[in-house]
């Protein structure tokens, strides 16, 4: 029973990730989908080697996708509002700043997500932490 429940949770997380990718492509733009794909690829390839269950890692990854989707939604509507008020030049500003604004959430989320995974055994230090 416990095993089945664990699989169900796993399936839900995978579904959430897939939905985020589809939603980003359908409702935002291809750049947002590419950003989420890059985040998923590097997050999964690195965290798979760390301590913690697969469920926990996929849970964090799903949370990252939801956050990324939300972030990109905000950016997208910010761009639409910007073009409405400032005209076409705002598109250039958006194109330039888009990757920089996106990496803000990727780096921040990556740093925080590592803290929720169980720590490896570390040797006691001779100095105060």
């Amino acid at each position: 029973m416990k095993f089945e429940c664990s699989r169900l949770v796993l399936g839900l997380f995978l579904e959430a990730i897939a939905l985020c990718l589809i939603a980003s492509f359908r409702f935002i733009n291809i750049e947002a989908t590419a950003t989420l794909l890059i985040f998923n690829l590097f997050f999964f390839s690195l965290t798979v080697h760390l301590n913690g269950t697969l469920n926990r890692k996929l849970g964090v990854l799903a949370l990252g996708n939801i956050m990324g989707l939300f972030w990109n939604f905000v950016l997208y509507y910010f761009a639409i509002a910007g073009v409405t008020f400032f005209g076409e030049p705002f598109n250039v500003f958006y194109a330039v700043s888009y990757p920089f604004l996106n990496f803000m959430w990727i780096v921040s989320f990556w740093s925080l997500s590592l803290t929720v995974l169980p720590k490896p055994k570390s040797t006691p230090a001779e100095v105060k932490p």
Binding site: S45, V96, P99, F100, V107, L114, E126, V127
Partner: protein
């Protein structure tokens, strides 16, 4: 025509940055995969106890030298095989008196005085004087602000059982991490640089770097090389390449930890990093063609060596790619430029000394069992911009020195105030 030329520059610079990113992604994966396995090491169970000389160059280090010399008396290595030489490099404070007090009490501790005429010419010069006095088969070096583990000599020396090893490097760990944001950022740099970068380079058989402290070399190799090159600001990087070009290897020993006092303000950080950047660039100009022509280095060592030699140019390259990319986007560039622009920000979340990106630092901190310091990784963005300024200034200084014939070896010594003493558990 101008647009096409700018596109070539942008493509070249981003391709190079991508090469570094892939390199560090491989490093991170290597360390993650090797962590669960025991490190393959020829010297794992070796009982090897050669005579060892420890050199401690010290110039105005009264706040920290006593702490290190006290630690030298607590080392577990047999004393009859140990020689500790404090090189008082024309100090104007009480460094000399403190060292002499220890020398009177312990016969294996010696003091070498350099007067104002001969001293103060930089670490390489001081180390060469110490080298002349030393008698050990293996020579280790510690900066005065360091605080090693009691069994560090055994850990470092056992690597020399392999005759191909010319030098070893241990791991510096920041002592005063909790002092402020600057020391915490330096801690992140050290974690990325040593816990992942050096470890991976050692595991992959590339070129681990001798860092000039918490490490050592075989005396016979050093004699063959003719001592440290005093014209180099970073004599450690220079030695790394000299060792490899002479057909020997450098090994990294991650469990040989030594605590260091990190710079604690932006001004000191600038001075230290400017010296490192300028020195590293000097070494790059000196060794690039030698590395390419060397028959002692294999292809993988050559590629890694070249990437390592050019590492302090990367921040300048990032700056160029940022402005060139920006101007291309403003002038409605091609789709390829737009696609590559997406990767430019990754570089801004990297370290400078080894170009370790944010994911490598995060994994290093995780493997060290650190949690709170990971929260500061996004701040690397500001540190990187600061380092771009430092490296650009260093490059301009080198060009200016070449053009006007000014000396390139002006030594900017880092002051140590003993802020780390508070953190040592006794």
């Amino acid at each position: 025509m101008i647009i096409e030329a700018l596109e070539v520059v942008f493509l070249f610079s981003t391709a190079l940055m991508m090469a570094y990113l892939i390199r560090h992604y491989v490093f991170t994966l290597t360390v993650l995969r090797r962590t669960k396995k025991a490190r393959a090491n020829v010297a794992a169970d070796a009982k090897y106890e050669p005579t060892v000389s420890i050199l401690i160059p010290a110039r105005d280090e009264e706040q920290v030298i006593g702490r290190l010399l006290q630690r030298m008396t607590e080392l577990t290595y047999p004393r009859n095989k140990l020689q500790v030489i404090t090189i008082d490099d024309a100090s104007s404070d009480s460094t000399r008196q403190i060292a002499e007090e220890f020398s009177k009490r312990y016969s294996f501790i010696e003091v070498l005085h350099r007067d104002k005429k001969n001293g103060g010419k930089g670490k390489a010069s001081a180390m060469n004087s110490g080298l002349e006095r030393s008698t050990g088969e293996i020579v280790l070096c510690f900066d005065a602000d360091y605080y090693p583990q009691t069994d560090i000599v055994e850990k470092l020396v056992k690597e020399f059982v392999d005759p191909a090893v010319g030098a070893v490097q241990g791991r510096p760990v920041v002592l005063n991490e909790a002092q402020n944001v600057v020391t915490r950022l330096v801690t992140l740099e050290r974690i990325g640089g040593y816990r992942v970068d050096q470890e991976a380079r050692d595991n992959l058989g590339l070129i681990p770097q001798f860092g000039g402290t918490v490490g050592g070399f075989r005396r016979s190799v050093m004699e063959k090389l003719g001592g440290f090159d005093v014209s180099m600001l970073t004599e450690d990087t220079d030695l790394t390449f000299q060792v490899y070009l002479a057909g020997f290897k450098v090994r990294y020993v991650g469990d040989a930890e030594c605590y260091e006092e990190a710079v604690d303000n932006l001004k000191a950080y600038w001075r230290q990093r400017h010296r490192w950047a300028r020195g590293h660039m000097q070494v790059c100009f000196k060794h690039t063609s030698r590395v390419l022509r060397s028959k002692k280095l294999n292809t993988k060592e050559k590629i890694d060596g070249l990437l390592l030699l050019h590492i302090y140019f990367v921040p300048v390259l990032t700056l160029i790619s940022f402005f060139v990319g920006l101007s291309l986007i403003l002038s409605e560039s091609s789709q390829l430029v737009n696609a590559l622009w997406l990767f430019v920000p990754v570089s801004f979340y990297s370290l400078v000394g080894n170009f370790a990106p944010f994911f490598e630092i995060g994994i290093g901190a995780y493997l060290d069992g650190r949690t709170r310091i990971q929260w500061l990784i996004p701040l690397l963005l500001f540190a990187y911009w600061y380092n771009i300024l430092i490296c650009t200034k260093a490059l301009l200084d080198i060009f200016a020195a070449k053009m006007f014939g000014k000396s390139q070896s002006d030594w900017a010594k880092t002051r140590h105030l003993g802020n780390g003493n508070h953190y040592i558990v006794n």
